[in-house]
């Protein structure tokens, strides 16, 4: 691979510090890689000499599998480590785990961790590339990127769009990555949800805050509906899931009251009948499965670029050429 400095730097910890140019290039690169997943033989030799560890301290199905498909379709060697039953549960510190992996000569770590800042912590301490697959309530950059790609595909642009993120903004790493990416690419961003689930400094991030979902729907071109976790109700942020659905749920009736056709995203897994009604999830507004498809392409693009791949050589790399 090219010894020149990687386009993205060593790591992808979050979208907060990425430039518009970097974001656009990742999305453009992902467009090149989309086609691989549509082939009969879904494999190209782009990362055939790379070893990647998927290190998941928190349960994850969609993100972990999406990364694994992306890695395998690019021909990387991959190892999955999940917390249950591993040394991660035997009191080994994060930095020791990382150093041990490093000692086995790996190239990249994809990490999901329950603590905000864990990805940065790891990135600062090991020479391998680190990709944040979600750290606490901080960021989930590849989810943010796949949301951007899905919006751009559907709407043809991001600049000037009005995007509202609905739900538990306080605890959401998806919300933060979306806010940073969308603002950098020139969208107007709003958040909507119960005041108890709003970060205290939301407006200082540069977003509008709606309390009523009807107002958000009236305003927005795109809704990104977040999962309401059951724990939030147990912790007393909202009194009941039924009440949440009544007041903040995204339903067909509410969408039909809006004057334009909205596009609805959801990062999954969905609680049907809580934050989103089934007829919305399965209906014409929904791009939820496109998000899942795009997730693989976006992750391929990120892996390629972090491995030192040049954006303009992505097409050639796919054909087996040097990157």
């Amino acid at each position: 691979m090219s010894p020149t400095p990687a386009f993205l730097g060593k790591d992808l910890v979050g979208l907060e510090r990425l430039s518009a140019d970097q974001l656009r290039t990742i999305l453009d690169t992902a467009e090149h890689f989309k086609e691989i997943s549509e082939r009969r033989i879904k494999k190209v030799p782009v990362l055939r000499h790379k070893t990647i560890v998927n290190l998941f301290f928190e349960a994850s199905t969609r993100t972990r599998i999406s990364f694994e498909f992306a890695e395998k379709r690019l021909s990387a060697d991959t190892v999955n480590i999940v917390a249950a039953g591993s040394s991660l549960q035997k009191g080994e510190t994060l930095v020791d785990t990382a150093r041990n992996l490093e000692a086995m000569r790996i190239d990249m770590v994809v990490m999901r961790h329950g603590s905000s800042g864990a990805a940065q912590f790891l990135a600062d301490r090991i020479p391998s590339n680190v990709i944040n697959a979600g750290d606490g309530r901080h960021e989930h950059p590849t989810q943010g990127l796949l949301d951007l790609l899905t919006i751009r595909d559907r709407m043809g642009r991001i600049e000037g769009l009005k995007v509202c993120i609905v739900g538990d903004i306080l605890h959401s790493r998806v919300a933060r990555s979306n806010i940073y990416g969308l603002l950098t690419l020139g969208a107007e961003v709003a958040v909507c949800g119960p005041p108890t689930l709003m970060p205290p400094a939301a407006t200082e991030l540069g977003v509008r805050v709606f309390t009523r979902v009807e107002e958000a729907i009236e305003w927005a071109d795109v809704l990104n509906v977040l999962r309401l976790q059951l724990e939030r109700m147990e912790a007393g942020y909202v009194p009941s899931l039924r009440e949440y659905n009544r007041i903040w749920g995204v339903s067909t009736a509410r969408l039909e009251a809006a004057k334009r056709d909205l596009v609805v995203l959801h990062p999954g897994p969905m609680n049907r009948g809580v934050e989103i009604d089934s007829d919305v999830a399965d209906g014409p507004h929904s791009v939820i499965l496109d998000q899942v498809t795009n997730g693989v392409a976006v992750r391929m693009a990120v892996l390629y670029l972090l491995a030192g791949g040049q954006p303009e050589k992505a097409e050639a790399a796919k054909q087996g050429g040097e990157t």
């Binding site: 907060e16 510190t93 994060l94 930095v95 961790h113 603590s115 905000s116 800042g117 864990a118 940065q120 912590f121 750290d135 606490g136 309530r137 901080h138 960021e139 790493r173 933060r176 970060p199 205290p200 400094a201 939301a202 200082e204 991030l205």
Partner: protein
């Protein structure tokens, strides 16, 4: 008895006698014998040239965690007392949140004995308010005072039960000691790890609002007013907290309060990048709060500068932010930070600094020292106000290195620490 010690020609700053002038100081038999413009050296005296140096009553820190017994990998009474001496402190008050906690007279006696054995800064034990720091019923406060405790606190934990706090303030009246509280409403601070605000939102960390501290400060002030007891409020960090104390003092409430060097010079921005060495409780707050703490220190609303010296092992701070413990070490940086960033920026003058780091703490906790008037203990701090140095945690005498000030260039450095007429730090 050690030989008489004559400190020759230093600038003596002693607010207890409105003194800021070039003086000779003679220490004999562990006491201050004379402070004069010119003292002829007694024949057997050791003479130390203090020209260009500042000589003050020994600095006192009434809020220090020494971790012994129970967490000797972080600090011991001996290493903490040595670190204190190296920082120019002649006396420190040891917080009781050890394992086991200091909640009975035997435990207090242990701290007294270990402090003496250390032979560095004086170590005064502070006992628990409640048995086991459990917040349920009073600890053996009277017996602990007899054994040498100079105050009580459940520090580390606030006293959440207002009824217990009232009882403690009343009961302590019998012994003339302050009841010190870590003001924090745990329900409001929740599982917060830093100040609530923009930085916490960006980093995705749960925050603690100022209100968590404010409601508790106000409650403690009301209880001190109700009982006539002496409340000592630890590490005040909020603007509303400072203003509430100011108003309470004007009403005649018996309250003393602390400011820490870190809350005087750092804001929540120091946490950005998930810097665990800037994680402490109360958290670093906003610029407006720093300004209020500075104003409170300047006008005497806040009586003492205290470090809240909180050693933690490297491994414990080398973790994701939420998993790292609260607290920083401070004994060996406090004087330099205060001289460089608080006196140096014109917040207070040198005399006020000595008042807040020596006389004020001695008065608040009824400790000997805090003055160089004749006949008082020969506890003296000598520092060079002009020496420029760089904070190098590896050089600390403390066992721990957890400081946000690593690499800071400071102006002003302790040169000589004298306890009871004996030099415990520095080479004359």
């Amino acid at each position: 008895m050690s030989k008489p010690l004559l400190l020759r020609g230093g600038r003596v700053v002693d607010p207890s006698q409105n003194l800021d002038a070039k003086r000779d100081v003679l220490l004999v038999d562990g006491k201050v014998a004379k402070v004069r413009a010119r003292i002829d050296a007694p024949e057997d005296a050791r003479v130390v040239d203090c020209a260009g140096l500042v000589v003050t009553p020994g600095l006192i820190d009434v809020h220090v965690h020494l971790r012994e017994p129970g967490e000797e990998h972080k600090e011991t009474i001996a290493t903490g007392a040595a670190a204190a001496a190296a920082g120019g402190f002649t006396a420190i008050c040891a917080m009781p949140n050890t394992d086991p906690p200091i909640d009975d007279p035997a435990a207090v006696g242990f701290v007294v004995a270990e402090g003496r054995r250390a032979g560095a800064a004086r170590v005064y034990p502070v006992g628990c308010i409640s048995a086991g720091r459990a917040g349920k019923r009073l600890a053996l406060i009277g017996e602990m005072v007899e054994a040498g405790a100079v105050a009580v606190t459940d520090d580390g934990n606030p006293v959440m039960d207002s009824g217990l706090m009232r009882t403690a303030l009343e009961y302590a009246l019998a012994f003339g000691i302050p009841v010190a509280d870590h003001p924090e409403d745990l329900g409001l601070s929740g599982n917060g790890h830093m100040n609530e605000g923009l930085v916490a939102t960006r980093l995705g960390l749960a925050g603690k609002p100022n209100a968590a501290e404010d409601v508790h400060i106000v409650r403690d002030l009301l209880l001190a007013e109700l009982t006539g007891g002496h409340i000592h409020l630890q590490h005040v960090s909020t603007r509303f907290g400072v203003e509430s104390i100011r108003q309470a003092k004007a009403r005649g409430v018996r309250v003393t309060a602390e400011a820490t060097p870190h809350h005087l010079v750092l804001t929540q921005d120091a946490v950005d990048g998930y810097r665990t060495e800037a994680k402490m409780n109360p958290p670093l707050r906003c610029a407006e709060d720093v300004a209020a703490v500075r104003a409170g220190l300047a006008d005497g609303t806040l009586d003492t500068v205290t470090t809240d010296h909180a050693p933690h092992h490297y491994d414990e701070k080398e973790a994701a932010f939420a998993e790292a413990p609260n607290g920083i070490v401070g004994l060996e940086t406090a004087l330099g930070i205060m001289l460089t960033r608080v006196v140096g920026e014109g917040v207070i003058d040198l005399s006020t600094l000595v008042e807040r780091m020596s006389c004020g703490p001695a008065r608040a906790f009824h400790l000997p020292g805090g003055t160089l008037t004749e006949g008082n203990p020969a506890d003296v701090t000598v520092f060079d106000p002009n020496e420029v140095w760089t904070v190098e945690p590896r050089a600390f005498l403390s066992k721990s290195r957890n400081t946000p000030f690593s690499g800071w260039e400071l102006k002003g450095r302790p040169k000589l620490t004298i306890v009871g007429g004996r030099i415990v730090f520095g080479a004359p």
